[in-house]
Subunit: 368 residues, 4 copies
């Protein structure tokens, strides 16, 4: 990971977009802050955290001062920080709406972790708030910004695989801590589906550029397991896409880490395995000529997200994965939960056109 | 493939079980006859075919005489052949019942290709006919006889993977010839589900030893494609097993060859890819220690089937995959078709105990 | 492996070349006879063996009669068999010369297993004898007839890998039986080098089309191991090719089966692993675009050899790997043994032009 | 890569060893500084660089001040910095000796990049200087500190592979810039051998714990290529180890990146591919049971080195790869150059006992 100390290019920095990171957890510490260092168009200007000590330690370590650290109570003070043009919300899902709305009111652009919220209604409210305040809202779907996932999308949409007939995807992992907020329904809005299964759902929609017309789902919530008192442990989903294309995906908090995407067409197939980690993505495309594993340049997924959003702020364009893209996954996840509850197929009605919920600004892919 | 010319051990041959192969297609020519050569307990004693010339050519090539070749009209003459103790039925599915019943009446044991028949009713009639005639009936589920699939079953049932939560399986291939009997509903009884999807269904049942409690399915039958006038092109199936275990499988006649089986447990996972070819099966088991790809001795899948059935004839035991095992897949496939038609989940009722439809005689696995 | 019983096309058979197989061991039984069945241009017309019973068993099993089986004493009687146009010599190496000379004198063409003989001198005598008798002589280097090895050669020679700088190859396996003729110096002419290392040597020469200018080698012959009283256990070889290209290869009778070929160029590299088995060859080509694993049609390596030689007999052309190609490996192996003995580099003198020891007739590669 | 800002644990820092990084290139910026952040026992206290601006930028970015940045002329001022207990020398090879001797005289411990120097004589002088000054000297052989390479060593030494017979290793890459100091003989001391081939040499010695008894080598220096005016482009080396074990390795600056290690024993074999990158190492061990790819915890190779050396400073023990270990590779590389020049095998004389040039302190491997 190339380090580009901010001080190295003082001029360019003035044009970079300053972000306040809201929430300091594992993702922030291990991925977002290092990523911000490698970003060309963004930098970390402030931190918002409940643990002031931890925040100050981070701040000093990364060239910020104590004055750049805010408690949640002080969130409103960011209004005075002209250098903070955007916030990156890395809070429990149930807090996404509140902090997005507050940020929007302060005129700050919002990059929000997935899932966008805990319900379609809340997610839509976030979109509305940002539109009203005329600030950009981006759902942090990092897999829509990698060259590997774009190569998969291109293989699907270019016809290289022939007509695509079936797809499947898996994102399962073990959640061991019964106290994790991700296992509390009110905080998370659901179990593995909203946290890791959403990768499958989102990427199936992304590679096809299309929306499912119906869903069927089943879930399992084991009795007696302290982890799964509030949320489901495992979910299996079947999605019917236009033209008869069918996709399945599996997600769980109770199975050893596996992440895959498979697309099967009449003239070829593709496999991403692993499909969703921060690095080490592997794509194989097979057709009658053989199997090709393309090589890609090194990059940082989070830096690509920061850069994309910073640029969309500068140009005023909708980011590729705006709030609307996050809302759409909530609509489908609501249907998935309903199907799992009722044991019945749920129709989603007429679907929008290709990439209807995506922005105008296409991601810039890293070059070799 | 080690060749063991029959003449080499004249004594042992007398104890070997003579089979009449009924139907000479690609499978017979390329797999069954070579396999029979390597079998320790079986040999080909006669051929039944509509193409007499072809049959005689095969016969002479493999040390039989013209007298060992029969037309379908002459099938009844096998009654006079004491050396023909069993028939192996490799005919279009719709003919399985008729030839099984005729064979049973002649006192011949029956090894029948999968699917056992074209409906649950016909399949059950075959079981009844063989029971009445006191002959053995075996469904030729070759994947229940390989060391790789048994190693997968052991990994699942031994607890090595922890509690199993989710499974998926794929068997898709391209059927190009619109004239193939496999695309005619009355001959085949269905499309890819009954031909290749049945591998997924059967192996998911085999590795768990359990029966699904409910199914949901969707299928696609493209308009205007001359191949899919009568049968579906692709089918996606979700199966609910006891204890909340959910399995998906995908099958198609319109997608590039892919065959997989994946099982995900809390402490490990396994992947067979490819999962169903005649050779080259690859099994990987992953747990916290890493990934292990066990090695297996070389063997011929069809020879293992021949040997198993020949031995079950000699010992009078039920073969491991008797007719009942084939009937059970028909019961589930009927439910799959119903679900695909209705768009509704179909409950299968209370399930039988572990391996309830399997015989007493466990397969002998090839030794290194 | 598609079976094509001879009787199926009686006309074409008349044009096929009848072979006498001289020597019935594992290779003959498990590979050559099945291969001959799939050959388009060759068939087995006679067997020569010391074990008459075994020969007759094979004969009958494969549609021949007792009259088609000869003892070594009766080898000369093949002179009377017009239908036997060629012999395939599968005897211990030390017998290659004698049987080749006798066959040549009878006007029979000779396909001879590798190594061609037990010394350069004997090998050259075989070439001379066949030239004098105006019969074709082919060294059975099956890896010069596969589409995978030709794809490797094309990658090297087309410049796809850029200028090639370094190569290496491995062929090691465990020889467990101390009584095997391959461990007797007078019968085999050497240890693993002449039996399995020769694959590395031959394929390195084949993919480049060039000859080494010098060799250096070291070998190990463990004391007290009953298997290695007469021949070396392991050999390491370095070869200097024109233009500064250096290649290493390793061979052993004391290490778990491994067969590889690796070629490294400035713009790409290729890896065959495994490189030398009868089937399951795997080729990967890596360049700046990624890694490609091309697919190839199914085929039988031995059938390709039979077909090639049969056609070269029909057309009167030199086969691609004539006796001269076998002699050249002996020249180099002699130098390897000398280097291992002396601990010194051995120069091979000026090298011949590209493919100088190969015939005019290029192999026909199997088509998809 | 977990970030542990220094400020987070002010107490522990007092006990951590402060390093001055001498030389700021790609390795320093991209690997060493991030690694130092994750180190438990070391931290960066000062920077020495010719590019003062760059140094100050780095300093500020990482919580140091301008006062912590020194030019090479000011190197001597580190004597006054009690908090700088050690230096990490990341300079062109020809400067290793001078800066090591100067550091030793100031009482600073020395961690020096490989190769230790540009000749055996210079390397030995460095060892002597550090011994005289009673400071620790460690050669930065990062591959002797990873769990993957230790697992390979254990497989070799535990007998899991049976008696080991042959090994080979590859480290090749393309050096494109003709101006790189690594291509200047006086600065680098040699070409790819001393830079990347040394990995092969060092790891072959490490996994066996033994020293080669003789070497043979050939090299290629293409005419007319501006990159290879002073140093060789490619080198092939054969090494004779005690007991008849033979190892080959290949190194080049003119071939697409490849790094491997293969060990072949009578009962098993191992393959590391890639074998030498900073991350993504892959180890496969094959025996009669199959192939096992063990999993390992995540870690940072450079942090492991920093930690090991810091701890050996605290405990006063010889680090696992002291200067002596670096000297030994120079002795062998001298012999390799001599062999390549003379075309003759070079004997290295009697070899020392197992791990004779390694320290008492075994590396602590990262735990899951």
């Amino acid at each position: 990971m190339p380090l580009k100390p901010e001080i190295e290019k003082p001029e360019s920095e003035r044009k970079r977009v300053g972000f306040a990171l809201v929430g300091i957890g594992k993702l922030t510490a291990e991925e977002l802050i290092p990523a911000a260092r490698t970003s060309e168009h963004a930098y970390i200007a402030a931190l918002v955290t409940s643990e002031e000590d931890k925040g100050e330690a981070f701040a000093r370590a990364f060239g910020l001062t104590e004055a750049d650290v805010y408690t949640y109570d002080e969130f409103g003070k960011l209004a005075d920080r002209d250098d903070v043009e955007a916030v990156y919300i890395v809070l429990p899902n149930s807090l996404h709406r509140e902090y997005t709305e507050r940020a929007a009111k302060m005129g700050k652009h919002v990059l929000c972790e997935k899932p966008l919220s805990v319900s379609t209604q809340d997610a839509q409210a976030m979109v509305d708030a940002c539109r009203e305040a005329d600030v950009r809202l981006m759902t942090a779907y990092r897999c829509q910004y990698t060259p590997e996932h774009w190569a998969a999308r291109d293989a699907v949409q270019s016809g290289k695989l022939g007509k695509v007939k079936l797809m499947d995807s898996i994102h399962v992992q073990v959640q061991q801590d019964p106290e994790a907020w991700r296992l509390k329904k009110t905080l998370a809005g659901g179990g593995p589906l909203v946290d890791v299964g959403i990768y499958c759902l989102n990427i199936l929609r992304f590679v096809t550029g299309q929306e499912p017309e119906w869903v069927f789902a089943a879930e399992h919530q084991p009795e007696g397991d302290p982890r799964f008192k509030e949320v489901e442990e495992s979910t299996s989903v079947m999605l019917g896409f236009p033209g008869g294309l069918i996709a399945n995906f599996l997600t769980s908090y109770g199975a050893m880490k596996t992440t895959t995407l498979r697309v099967m067409g009449e003239e070829g197939s593709l496999l991403m395995d692993p499909a969703f980690p921060y690095d080490g993505l592997k794509l194989k495309i097979t057709d009658s000529e053989g199997t090709h594993e393309p090589s890609f340049p090194e990059y940082d997924q989070f830096a690509l997200e920061f850069d994309h959003f910073a640029q969309s702020i500068r140009t005023g364009q909708q980011p590729w994965t705006p709030g609307e893209e996050g809302v759409q996954d909530h609509v489908i996840m609501d249907a998935i939960f309903e199907s799992a509850r009722s044991g019945k197929r749920v129709d989603l009605g007429a679907t929008a056109g290709k990439d209807a919920t995506r922005g105008d600004k296409k991601p810039e892919l890293p070059q070799k």
